[in-house]
Amino acid sequence: MPKLTTQDILKLIDGLRAEGFEVISPLRINGVVKLAKLPPGEAPLLDYIRINNSPKDFLLPCRESLYKYRSTATLTSYGLKIRFPTAEGPCPVTIMPECTLPKSKIAFFGIHPCMVNSIRYLDKVMLSDPADPYYKGRRDGMFIAVMECEEGDDYCLCGMLDSYKVPAGYADLMMRKRDGGFLVRAASEGGKGVLALINKTQEKDGVPELVPKMKEKYTFDSTDEAEIDRRDAKEYVELCTLCAACTVTCPTCYCGDIEDEFSLMDPANVERTRLRMSCQRKCYSMIAGGTTFLKTKDARFKWRLKHKFPFSERAYQLKGCIGCGNCIAMCPARIDFRKFLGRREA
């Protein structure tokens, strides 16, 4: 197991860039730690606990164009005219959508195992039949260099969800801190190739598993749908302002919205856009006529947890919660679902 210095890491990243990867790593930007595109020559931030965003922001952007089409619409002062009267026979006008699928080679460098698990969850959702071609375009050929985590903060809970374990096939390089440097081992052929670039070879495997220390320990009694419904969430949502920070910063919240966008100038040129949605927002569960299914803060809080636990387990045999604790740490009121679902251990 080779030990690398920061200089080696920089060389390694240059090697990845030479292979055409866009390197994304944790960085401190204006005092905020978040994942961002790593500028050439700059070292990634590898000593951190929590990031403000997640790989989701790169795989499922907040706003993305699905396709464009030229409609037959013209704007009149009495509304959009989409009608084309035909003298004889079928109308020659058709809607022909045009789209270019994203094709990128992303390398996540230095993300924690919990975030790797979030990619696994998004894969399950987005690549299940029929696969989402936009997600797939970004996901294919991805390189993941995992920075193993030693210690969590007050809100981390990967220890109790086992999400500090990196699932098989989800890492190319595994890194952990050791005496001012980094112990790096390749976990895939791609990883071995990158290590070879800097003349480091893989030695014998067999490193002990690193279990991050949790500051607070909880046990969940049951995460059944019936159990979540039965529990009283009143005291938890009392302070909720429905700001939706919990779902925005959650690495596995993938709910979306699709809208048509066009300008007054050229209404025939329409862009169909996918945007993010949150179950904490009113329009999430609104159907035609204005009926909203999730009316109260209480219902929305429970809905989020139901989607994370029982619903995901049923549909994908995988928990939607990867234990990063972002929904607690980013909540202005620090609403803690751990206390709602379980008990704190001494």
Binding site: G31, V32, K34, N52, N53, D57, C62, L75, T76, S77, Y78, G79, L80, E238, L239, C240, T241, L242, C243, A244, A245, V248, T249, S263, L264, M265, R276, S278, R281, K282, C283, K297, M330, P332, A333, R334
Partner: protein, 247 residues
Amino acid sequence: MRLAFYSLTSCEGCLTTLITNLGPNLESLWNIFDIDYFKLVREPVGGSKVPKADIAFVEGAVVTNLDRKKLLEIRENSSFVVALGTCASSGNIAFTASRGVKLKNKKLRDVEIFEAEPISSVVTVDFELSGCPVSAEEFTDALLRLINNIEPIQPDYSVCYECRTKGNDCLLEKGRVCLGPLAMGGCGAACPSVGSPCYSCRGPATEADLEAYLKTLEKKGLDKKRAVLMLHMFTGKKAKELLKNGE
């Protein structure tokens, strides 16, 4: 379809924003619609100061007796009235600033000054488009929806939603009072993104919960009075309504 753009007592910033920020859309707006009046740009068509219009956009708060008279005339001559900007929809800074001040002697010839009110206090408003100044994109969207017989909408999320989407750190965490959780989004969290707290210039969010917000401040040991003071600054009449519901 005939449109008219009026201005009551205001900085005329909303109409100026439309002129500057609509860009090339302004031209198509001009070509498609019959614009019978546009304060700053076009004199009223047909001699009447308040021409008949299908949709009237009104910026500014009602402050003087002339404003009141004009607004009533606008309502009479327009089928649909849209309050344009925070002044028109909630009274903005003028609402709070004109209260507790002696206004009796403030008379200039035949202009009398009263406590500022949003236009909804005087006439029925069909739709409110808040923002200080109003956003050109939201204006276009609302106009398109209106002419297509679709109910126009404003964002249903708060400023926090956009702020967190941008990956910012929370200002409340840094011990600063920020109205983000209460404020209507749509601005792209312009202020918090540069480290300046939100003053809720777009009015309260559709599901703003003042009670929960004040309790959150209390939990964090932040100044609740300051929050209420900040809320009064831009949110005008709506702050008053929010506080009434909260207590």
